[in-house]
């Protein structure tokens, strides 16, 4: 038997202290130890992108990260996006443009796109497709997701929140 290890992890600005087996994946830690089930697990080998979260602002696969590796980093999940139930402009763009159907891949896509739009606030459709290529969606055929990201970028530009 392997001893459990203490872990202190900052997720969405809250510090959580838990004791875990070292093999606990960050995805499982977030979902099952913190009950933040918005982060989804679709393949557990890094291909589908459903489990994408932000670590120190960068999107990474939480299924290819042990929770212990995330100590000292700032983790953001989909639950951080809205403000008391009010959708963020990115979320709202997805709602307006039906950028989701079953929604299982959506949290990972939102986290990837949040980081992508920060890095590239005025993307064209090809750049968006390239940026989306690490997140698989089986329902939409991606078209409406691309529309959503375009709309989110435009909304950010028109409201002046886009960072240069």
């Amino acid at each position: 038997m392997v001893d459990k290890k203490k872990i202190s992890l900052n997720v969405n600005g809250v510090t959580y202290d838990r004791e875990i087996e070292p093999r606990t994946l960050l995805s499982d830690f977030i979902r099952h130890h913190l009950d933040l089930t918005g982060t989804h697990v679709g393949c557990e080998h890094g291909i589908c992108g459903s489990c994408t979260i932000l670590m120190d602002g960068l999107p990474v696969r939480s299924c290819l990260t042990f929770a212990l590796q995330a100590e000292g980093k700032a983790i953001e999940t989909v639950e951080s996006l809205d403000t008391n139930g009010e959708l963020s402009p990115l979320q709202n763009a997805f709602w307006e443009n039906q950028g989701l159907q079953c929604g299982f891949c959506t949290p990972g896509i939102l986290m990837s796109m949040k980081a992508f739009l920060k890095h590239n606030p005025k993307p064209n459709r090809d750049e968006i497709r390239e940026a989306l290529s690490g997140n698989l969606c089986r329902c939409t055929g991606y078209h409406d997701i691309v529309d959503s990201v375009v709309a989110a970028a435009e909304a950010a530009i028109s409201s002046g929140t886009a960072k240069a």
Partner: protein
């Protein structure tokens, strides 16, 4: 798909990692970005007893501009290397190759050293280390050595690195001034492992003849391979489409491909030749633009 148990150690430095490796021996594995290792662990194909985590050492990402090339600390993430201005200026082919690795979410964690040590013959960085005559700085608790890339890769996922050794840094040599590069690969989808890839660097002398040539293929053998026969057929010659077509035929000398669920060994051999012609053509036009 949950990993088997292991004991976890967080190394504070690469020296510390070497100490931990010495203490735990053959059953210990280095955990860097983990983008291949953790996937294999989730499938329980990999079941290391001890994991030594080097992803949280002090200043993991370091890129140094050196006289003969660019030194990249092994723990540098692929994303940092990809966007680094020194890499983009001095090793544009490497920057381009980095963009081909999986997806940006993977590159945000995957490390340059990790991909090289993983030694997947279809992946880009092992091929780049051959293309750019890389030198690997290798360390154990008791020893340090420098190994050339050409001596490093043994077969699929197998390298000359001993179980107590850690890859510390990689010196990618800058290609000659006024050289040009080309990199072509075929993958089923963007971000997938290359079915076949070819990378080339060419430099021209004052008379416009080929004065330097490097051609490296990946996905066509048990390791990335340098196609010296192709290079020899180019050196001292006037570059042309016809020359490239003739020279690229010699890729068959180094291709020893396998079939998989996607394509046959024969496909890999044929397409390696096609992509080599294209990589050479790109390299030539960049070389001409540079001179």
């Amino acid at each position: 798909m949950k990993p088997a148990n292991f004991e976890y150690f967080r190394a504070t430095s690469l020296d510390h990692a070497c100490e931990l490796l010495r203490a735990h021996g053959d059953d210990a594995k280095i955990l860097a970005g983990g983008q291949s290792l953790i996937a294999a662990m989730n499938y329980r194909l990999a079941r290391p007893q001890f994991l030594i985590d080097i992803s949280n050492i002090d200043s993991p990402s370091e890129i140094t501009d050196e006289s003969d090339g660019v030194r990249i600390k092994a723990t540098t993430t692929q994303a940092i290397a990809e966007h680094d201005p020194v890499v983009r200026r001095r090793l544009p082919v490497l920057a381009n190759a980095l963009e081909h690795i999986a997806h940006f979410q993977i590159r945000n964690k995957g490390t340059v050293g990790g991909s090289i040590v993983n030694a997947d013959p279809a992946s880009e960085l092992p091929a780049m280390s051959l293309l750019l005559d890389a030198e690997f700085e290798i360390q154990s608790a008791s020893d340090k050595q420098v190994m050339a890339a050409e001596d490093f890769f043994i077969t699929y996922m197998t390298t000359a690195l001993q179980s107590d050794e850690v890859l510390i840094s990689i010196l990618f040599k800058a290609p000659p001034e006024n050289s040009g590069w080309g990199l072509h690969e075929v993958a089923r989808r963007a971000g997938d492992f290359a079915l076949v890839g070819s990378a080339a660097i060419i430099a021209l002398d004052d008379g416009g003849k080929c004065s330097f040539a490097r051609v490296v293929l990946f996905g066509v053998a048990s390791t990335p391979v340098r196609a010296t026969e192709v290079e020899d057929a180019l050196l001292g010659q006037s570059c042309s489409d016809a020359l490239f077509a003739e020279a690229a035929k010699k890729v068959s000398e180094v291709v020893d491909a396998e079939s998989d669920v996607h394509v046959t060994d024969e496909y890999r051999g044929n397409v390696a030749e096609v992509l080599t012609v294209r990589a050479l053509a790109d390299a030539l036009s960049r070389a001409q633009a540079a001179s």
